[in-house]
């Protein structure tokens, strides 16, 4: 395939990944956030296919298939199933007023992440798009640390992993076996999370457990 077209496709998917991350920052509803992480995983899978055409490494195609099946379909389905079990947890409480500030902080993270990456971490040594996973990593931390809903935090964790998958494929494309293992471990992880959340439903009747004074200090 044409090298210019591949580079443009790679840029397009990078932008889609960042836009999906900013969309998640602006959500207080759980359902669309899960759908957004599914979309983001598909975008990253598509990027792996583009990278395959650039490098010819067939492992990237396997990685794309595993990522789209596990992180694009399976895990979001399990999470949406949990949402149905917790109807009253469809919208995170207390996040509404903070959404505009979170979006602004998210945009600052994207610009700041690009600046730090290009000027400090890896100055001009590799593709400028390599700063996208770094910005995505910062956005995922923002999502994890600013949310109280367990499924929102889980979405942040998946986004963090997406960032590392993206970085791995971009800067070390010959390491997909390790990354494939990471994705497969997610299947076990999501079973585990499902079990803990089910227990949480029985005990707390919500996905936003209160601050327990026994667990402070």
């Amino acid at each position: 395939m044409n090298a210019t077209l591949l580079a443009e496709l790679s840029g397009l998917f990078g932008i889609l990944v960042i836009l999906s991350a900013l969309y998640m920052q602006g959500q207080s509803f759980v359902d669309p956030t899960i759908r957004a992480i599914s979309f983001q995983s598909f975008a990253i899978s598509a990027l792996f296919v583009v990278l395959y055409f650039q490098s010819g490494d067939i492992d990237l195609v396997y990685l794309a298939v595993i990522t789209s099946v596990v992180r694009g379909i399976l895990i979001p389905r399990v999470m949406l199933f949990q949402v149905r079990n917790f109807k009253h947890s469809l919208r995170e409480t207390g996040t509404g007023q903070r959404i505009p500030s979170l979006i602004i902080v998210g945009i600052i993270f994207v610009i700041g992440g690009y600046a730090i990456f290009r000027s400090v971490l890896l100055p001009a040594s590799i593709d400028p798009l390599a700063s996208v996973p770094f910005a995505l990593l910062l956005l995922s931390f923002l999502l994890i640390f600013t949310r109280r809903n367990a499924l929102m935090q889980m979405t942040g964790f998946l986004e963090e992993e997406n960032a590392v998958l993206y970085a791995g494929a971009l800067i070390a494309p010959s390491i997909p076996l390790l990354v494939e293992f990471a994705v497969v471990l997610d299947v076990l992880g999501v079973v585990l999370v499902g079990v803990i959340l089910s227990a949480s439903r029985d005990v707390f009747l919500t996905l936003e457990p209160p601050e327990l004074k026994e667990l402070s200090g």
């Binding site: 935090q153 590392v164 800067i171 070390a172 992880g189 079990v195 803990i196 227990a199 457990p209 026994e214």
Partner: protein, 473 residues
Amino acid sequence: MDQIILFAVLLGAPAAGAAVSLLPRDGIELVASVAAAATTVAVSTLVLLLGTSGVFGYFYADGLTRIMVVTISAVFLTSVGYSAFYIKRIKEPFMRFRWYYSLVDLFTFTMLLAVTVNDFGFVWIAIEATTVTSALLVALERERTSIEAAWRYTLIVSAGLVASLLSVILLYYSQGSLAISQLLEKSPSSDLLMALAVGFALVGYGTKAGIAPMHAWLPDAHSEAPSPVSAMFSGILLPTSIYALVRTFELLRGSAVFSQMQALLIGFGVFTALLAAVIMSSQRNYKRMLAYSSMENMGVILVGFALGGIGAIGAVIQVMSHAFGKSSAFYEAGNILVAYDSKSMAEVQGVAKRLRLSGYLFTLSCLCVTGAPPFGVFVGEFMILAQAMSVGNTTLVILLAVAYMYAFIGLNRQSIRMIYGESSAAGQDGGRPAPQPENWASVAIPLANLTVSLVIGMYMLPAVLHAASGFGL
């Protein structure tokens, strides 16, 4: 070839134990787990005695590996044995006991894999798998706090470990290989990338090892997990994560950024030790207090490994003796919890009058893990301090000494008050609680662990005297 078989049996035994534990026959889970644990202890002792080192297929062993496998196997065995006594008291367990034993076996398998495999990628996979296999163990008692602790543990540790995956990727990008044996032999080729890899490893594996400020999961999980699992977390899981971090850091030796990253690791280690020592003394929950003590020990151990020289030897001694001493403390805490049904120190007073042996052993365990001579932790801490003195880092010596003293006073003051304080509950003989008969296994197992820690200390005491003579002491 023979030595590969040793590793195969070492890893195969807990894996087989996990599978057999799930068979639908009453009592088979305990037999299978004890058999698996006894096998791992026998094989790891053989590995230690043979001085196995080098590359064996997918495995790599050196002195650190040998110490780690022996420690992991021994704490595995005692925790399985103690579980037989402890978990019976759980009225509504989160899962069937056969699943509990199976997960304990798998948890051990993942830790043994992490310290024996010759590939940084598989070390990461194994440590990530320790979270998957152990998270449900935290929730075993099915209480509000244990479920919340399990969730926090899963989320915080998994989020942190993603950073160490990035570390592995950077390692591969900069060195072109992930084989531990190869990378240890060659000089790092890209200083900046290697420094970044160590930095991400510090965040990732440091989260799992309870290094501050990434430690938020640790006090919750340790205090809410059943006591045998708390013992495994504190005694062997935290050092396994430190092992992964130290292996990554070792690669920097000889590079231009070594001293900067060494300072970074020492800084995080000292900060962890000081923070934990301060927080420890204000705890109201005795299991939480022990958790902060583990954090303090991990901070000191990290400093020892970062310093190198006799500091690294001290760190290895401390890893071993802390594992035995702290597991003993958690087993005793389990005995106290069974008798009092409370983790609050305010409600647990005068333990020595009610549980005589457990009370005494708890006091001794607390002394052991806070570096009282002649236990092994004392030897380890002294050697780390001696290394800091020998490199002329006065600030570090002062900060370490403050952390040691604060931890010693904080933990022992609280434990002595709890064990020998006046009991508020009246006993059958009018005012004094009647002594309770104690299950022999619940006392013999922690006593055995404490004895091992003492033997390590006595055996290594000449090394301390030698180090002390170097400073004119």
